[in-house]
Symmetry: C2
Subunit: 413 residues, 2 copies
């Protein structure tokens, strides 16, 4: 076994670049990872962005975040006591790090230690029944006493009840917007207490006002922070079921609390039970099912893994746990500068693959695997093409690993 | 394949003997089957009873039902329009016939055709909630429309609601007592309508007033008549859970209706879900799960199988679907009469096995298989010994195939 290096920490300059990269147009967590893997680091990726987006077919230059905006966000964060923790750094939640679309940078308010403990997510309806609220309260206390931090989404109803019930034992809230615009507004006193005793996190810019689409996106972090997710009450089509789906995609345990078939608030949870979720009628159900996961070495691993191995340009890759030997290194900069026949050939091939991929895509999402099979291109070519297409704003990558063509919205990207 | 003989029917004399045998002391459904298999028919079994019980160690002569009592029961049945159908006869419910402890004789009021159709049992609390009753009603109608006869136990609450909701499509009730003492009394008008449109059955003597222990015993017939059992509401330890356990032992599908963890009436059903019962929130859940069972050849088989093959003495065995070639025939009568050395030897051997078995038994039930392993005797010897011990009132055979020593109750057997 190779000697395990110390957990890496970004320099202030690197952290600045990471924040700037993730705040740039069309850069999501997956594209961020692809950029770091392909360019070797955030600084190089920022330099490559305009050309990559152009190659992806962008109709206008990509908006790279302005250094002044990043400065402003860092200053606002300092004022609010919010710290930025990068994926792979020692303070980053180890369980969240395992998910595909882990936020590259997490804005944390409160006690970072809370993010290092085993956690369970409890989610449910905003318009919960009295019984649902009582059960959520009891469950949160039971899990807290069982040694789990409890994660939820700060929403009215079940979420807030769960946070209140786990203040003493460890509560984590995930914001759909930025720390500077806590939502919902009425949760401000609760959030203040959570920051004192637990933690509140966000992946969004600090002054971001959450919109509809930010909530499902946030839910992947709720489930991603936890070893398992319990859905207490959920009507069909409700946001809690999205959290459950994320948990499933993330290979986390999904629990559902049963309810009367005549209660519409139980339709979603009963459906989950039909789909194979574990039934939860008390905290013990969860404690028993998660006991083996909890004793896994996920937590220990996060403190040992990774670490820069001395090569400054590629060092940031190691934060994703990527083995530089196993990943073909492409430094797009080389290709841009090199006018030789080989580079042209390669660029031609890639442009061809890119357009074949666009032709294969439609508004209905398909998996990247299907795409690789259909595209007559290597997995690497497809990944690079998708990165460029996403930077160009031409495609959308959704939950799991599914890609769809972005529909033109009246000429504005 | 052997030519399938016609379904057998008992002669009036045989039916009389069957009823007399099952009404005799210490003769349960399993002992009845063992007696027919060992003696060849009910008449021979009745003759052998006193000696078998004596060999089993009975402290006083076994009470064989008096012919006058059987005459009286037959007359009472005629007056009430109740018919006796023997196991293996064409009118006997084919699905019930498959269970280990199928009643050898079933007293049927109403339409025998109802007993030939695929059925589902729906059971639940006596003190049901309004939601539970509404759901039971909806489920019974849905299953009726789906082509199933619905079976239940005539009790207050869920059972009666289920019967009322399936009158038009087919309702079967199972009495815990006899047809002459319908219980509960308030169900009399419902029972009258069920007899008109469906059927009500009982294994008990016609004037039997049901006692506590008759209800769980009855429940095996409720589940045994059905391809699957749905438990709508059930507190922990309730009778509906006994029905569910019987269904499981009978290799029938068990369904449970989920409920709030805060509702004590849902504790039993939620427990069932944890133990692997299928979740039922509507009739489709049941219809879908049972569709493959329904198209099995259970129903067709019951009309083709069996049939006397011309040997009068052993003919009644065929009603149990026993292959006479595969079963060693012992005609105890031979042994009683035969004073030869071989019979003495065999009787000695059997007496030794019997006492070894008694020594191995205690008040906690153990399985017959365990007993065979521990007793240093053949499976056949153990079965014969158990039959004799049960006739002697020294042992008790409970659900599944479990045997325990009967505790002496102050000297009276």
């Amino acid at each position: 076994m190779a000697k395990k290096p110390k957990p890496p920490k970004l320099s202030d300059e690197q952290r600045f670049d990471w924040l700037r990269l993730i705040r740039s147009e069309n850069v999501g967590p997956r594209t961020f990872r692809a950029l770091i893997n392909n360019c070797g680091g955030a600084r190089a990726a920022l330099e490559a962005l305009p050309e990559l987006a152009r190659r992806g077919g962008a109709s206008r230059p990509i908006r790279v975040a302005a250094p002044e905006d990043v400065e402003r966000e860092l200053a606002a964060a300092r004022k609010l006591g919010v710290r930025f923790v990068a994926l792979g750094e020692p303070g980053y939640p180890p369980v969240l790090r395992q998910i595909d679309s882990a936020p590259p940078v997490l804005a944390v308010a409160g006690r970072e230690e809370a993010l290092q403990q085993p956690a369970v997510a409890i989610v449910g309806s905003r318009n919960a029944s009295a019984a649902g609220l009582t059960f959520a309260d009891r469950l949160a206390r039971g899990l807290g006493q069982g040694g789990y931090v409890v994660v939820s989404g700060l929403a009215r109803g079940i979420d807030q009840r769960v946070h209140a019930a786990s203040l003493d034992t460890g509560a984590i809230g995930v914001l759909a917007g930025g720390h500077g615009k806590p939502y919902p507004a009425e949760a401000a006193p609760l959030i203040a207490r959570m920051i004192e005793f637990g933690a509140v996190v966000s992946e969004m810019p600090i002054d971001w006002e959450p919109r509809g689409r930010d909530f499902p996106r946030r839910n992947r972090i709720v489930s991603g922070l936890a070893l398992g997710t319990v859905v207490v009450e959920a009507a069909r089509g409700s946001g809690s079921l999205i959290t459950a789906r994320f948990a499933l995609e993330q290979n986390r345990q999904v629990f559902a609390v049963p309810g009367s078939p005549l209660d519409p608030r139980a339709e979603g949870t009963n459906d989950l039970l039909k789909q194979g979720a574990m039934i939860c009628t008390n905290a013990d159900d969860v404690l028993t099912a998660l006991a083996p996961t909890r004793t896994s070495d996920l937590f220990a691993a996060s403190l040992e893994e990774g670490g820069g191995d001395g090569e400054p340009l590629w060092g940031e890759q190691s934060l994703f746990g990527v083995d530089p030997e196993a990943t073909p290194r492409t430094h797009p900069g080389d290709e841009f500068d090199d006018a030789g026949a080989l580079a042209y050939q390669s660029a031609d091939r890639e442009a061809g693959a890119r357009e074949r991929i666009v032709a294969l895509l439609g508004p209905s999402p398909i998996s990247v695997d299907e795409l690789v099979r259909a595209a007559d291109a290597s997995a690497r070519e497809v990944r690079v093409a998708l990165m460029e297409l996403e930077l160009a704003g031409r495609i959308e990558i959704s939950g799991g690993d599914r890609v769809a063509l972005r529909l033109p919205a009246g000429g504005t990207g």
